[in-house]
């Protein structure tokens, strides 16, 4: 049953990813991307990592994609990219992507199983919010502080880029 759910949401996620690439209008691509992210959140919940599923919905869909939808509504203009959707690099690009898929497939295919040890499922979930919080406060606190600095830099840089010169 679990694998059936994973297969269902996995196929849906891939279909929505293809729709993001192929749809003509940017707003429809954005909606396909939102659906793709929701399917990924469902996948994360199916494998037992509910923390990341929640972050995916809150941060990626709730903040990043809402911001992008607003920008699309402000900037969406029916210019030449509506008539000519794909660039002249379509065929070489598709060939290159085929090589990328073959290369990555060769990396993951040879071993009958993925490298590493499959750990048995713990009695209690190791991905609970308390475990996640403790890991951040104990093991990853410095990385967390660096991430906040990165966010401040991004805000200042975005304001600097967008502000008009007087």
């Amino acid at each position: 049953m679990n694998f059936a759910l994973i297969a269902f949401f996995g196929v849906l996620a891939f279909v929505f990813a293809l729709l993001v690439v192929s749809l003509r209008q940017p707003m429809r691509s954005a909606l396909a991307l939102i659906a793709h992210m929701i399917c990924l959140a469902a996948l994360f919940a199916c494998v037992g990592v509910e923390v990341v599923a929640l972050f995916q919905i809150l941060i990626y869909v709730g903040a990043v994609m809402v911001f992008m939808v607003y920008v699309i509504m402000l900037l969406d203009d029916r210019d030449a990219s509506y008539v000519h959707v794909f660039s002249r690099w379509s065929v070489p690009g598709a060939l290159a992507i085929g090589l990328v898929i073959v290369g990555l497939g060769m990396l993951i295919a040879p071993a009958p199983q993925l490298p590493g040890v499959v750990a048995p499922a713990a009695a209690t979930s190791p991905f609970s919010f308390s475990a996640f919080s403790l890991a951040f406060m104990q093991g990853y606190w410095f990385h967390f502080e660096l991430a906040t600095v990165l966010l401040v830099i991004a805000i200042v840089a975005a304001w600097t880029v967008i502000s008009e010169r007087r």
């Binding site: 994973i6 990813a17 994360f44 990341v52 210019d79 990219s81 690099w89 898929i101 199983q113 990385h143």
Partner: protein, 101 residues
């Protein structure tokens, strides 16, 4: 018959390739940015798959920082997109190839 982790890693590879294809072949700047987001999501899927398989927190911590990087990237990218549209008047990345004297 592949197990669920192999299926998820294969899905991550195919989704990454689809996003990369979109970055190469699409002409609309906003759609290119969205295809970059598709690639980031496939990386997050790979991290979560390996974290769930090994029952460790390292991959989950990395996904959090991927979200931070994605948020910073989207803020800066949209600011640059707005400036580009102001300067060029179009979202078409291939527009300059059509402007010939």
């Amino acid at each position: 018959m592949m197990d669920k982790y192999q299926f998820l890693i294969t899905l991550a590879v195919l989704t990454f390739a689809a996003g990369l294809l979109g970055v190469i072949v699409r002409r609309n700047l906003l759609v290119v940015v969205m295809c970059v987001e598709v690639m980031l999501n496939s990386v997050v899927l790979a991290f979560v798959t390996f974290a769930a398989r090994s029952q460790t927190m390292g991959g989950v911590a990395m996904t959090f920082f991927v979200y931070v990087a994605a948020s910073c990237e989207i803020a800066l990218a949209m600011a640059i997109v707005v400036l580009l549209v102001k300067r060029r008047g179009t979202l078409d990345l291939a527009a300059k190839y059509e402007l010939k004297g």
